[in-house]
Symmetry: C2
Subunit: 143 residues, 2 copies
């Protein structure tokens, strides 16, 4: 449903939401330990997000990754779509072709409504929503 990569990416973005802005950019080197994601891999994921305009970055000295105010209004689904692709998220619980709400398989009826709700959460929750009232990264990533 959600790949590890997507989870990693979300963690990274949440870190940026809590710690960065236009004139306080963040190096991958300073994130990866906190969110428990391999450095080079996290770099790749953030680059991918940046390339798709979900987060921001600049190169060179004093550069790094950061979120501007538009970035903060991105939803979790925006991230997931870039990392996992649209197909994966929308695919039938049972992986059945041509199975959707109109032509549902039996499992779909059982599990489908949960999945739909899950997707709706991803679509309706922005980064900003998530960090509201939080200032400690530990609240997101205990242990």
């Amino acid at each position: 449903m959600l790949s590890n990569s997507s989870k990693y990416a979300i963690k990274g973005v949440l870190y940026l939401a809590l710690n960065s802005d236009e004139d306080h950019k963040i190096l991958v080197r300073d994130i990866y330990k906190v969110v428990h994601v391999p450095e080079a891999y996290l770099a790749k994921l953030l680059q991918e997000l940046s390339r798709h305009g979900i987060i921001s970055s600049t190169r060179g000295p004093r550069g790094g990754f950061y979120l501007n105010s538009d970035d903060r209004r991105r939803t979790l689904m925006d991230i997931v779509k870039v990392i996992d692709g649209e197909k994966r998220v929308n695919s039938c619980v049972m992986g059945i072709r041509n199975c959707d709400m109109n032509n549902p398989c039996v499992l779909h009826k059982l599990v489908g409504s949960n999945k739909t709700k899950f997707i709706r959460v991803l679509e309706n929750t922005t980064i900003l929503d998530l960090i509201e009232g939080k200032q400690d990264i530990e609240e997101f990533f205990p242990n």
Copy 2:
């Protein structure tokens, strides 16, 4: 959340539920096309389930896979646990160690209740529940 293998296995078991009993056993050869799963792979999965006592099988002429009445009372979770292992299903949405209902990360609060419901469906739905009132495999696996 659910591997392809688990989905395959569930499909196979549903086919058995609709078409087999103690004295009408089924060959993998006769299932795989209907449920759109590679023959040898489906065989492997059903063998695994049989080995764990989730479904039944006998070798030799007139042998094959089948469900007895106990098998029919198995839940979807029984299948998933054998194929994916317990860990995968119960792992935190965010893959965070030591994150659970008692010590939840922020994503957990958002998405966690959906996931919990999903797990509860898997745990509470038996094969028998699923096929109730159905007699056509196409209703499960359209297309």
